[in-house]
Amino acid sequence: MELASQTATAERYAREWLEQQTVAKIIEVDDEKADARKRRFSLPAAYVEVLVDQDSLNYLAPLARLVDPLPVVRDHVYHPDFGGSFSLKSILPALVPALGYDDLEIAEGETASRVLMQLVADDPTLLPAERATKREALLRYCERDTLAMVRVLSRLRELAQRT
């Protein structure tokens, strides 16, 4: 089978996956009545961007590789500055000293959760201008959190290569 040889996988494995993806309505079969070994499959044009186009903002394939790095760090990395905690805020200064939260208006998770609740619940005590400021501050916090994860990950890769 074509796909199996293109991707150097077992034909049986590729076929099972193709059939499963078809049932899950992710890919399409040209002729479902054709013999199992002769069926042709295709990825709908509309899904190509989402699954294959790495430069698109709509590229969601990496979601499948989403993992929590906490166990990796907890089981393999330690620095006295962690102070017994493995939260991002504790490990970041030790692993990526250049990056912190001190310059941000919202600098830790608890405040972030509270502000998020205020915004989501449409807190009536919040003035429109305040609301906009808080939303912006929350976005900056989320941005920093994401950047911190990216930097921690590349630091972990560095450490893994060294040992």
């Binding site: 991707t7 996988t9 996956w17 992710i26 990825l43 294959v52 990496p62 499948a64």
Partner: protein
């Protein structure tokens, strides 16, 4: 006319059904993600898109 008690039972049944639906959807979603992972790692999607 439904008594308050009937309404309470109905609400519980509705919430139960909504929860069942959510669990089933989540399970389907989990399979979507697993099979997506296989397709990405083995290059299946890329090969299909290149056709």
């Amino acid at each position: 006319m439904p008594t308050p008690n009937d309404t309470a039972i109905e609400t519980i049944a509705q919430r139960r059904d909504a929860f069942i639906e959510r669990m089933l959807q989540s399970t389907r979603g989990t399979f979507d993600v697993f099979s997506l992972y296989i397709g990405v790692r083995l290059g299946f999607y890329e090969a299909l898109a290149a056709r």
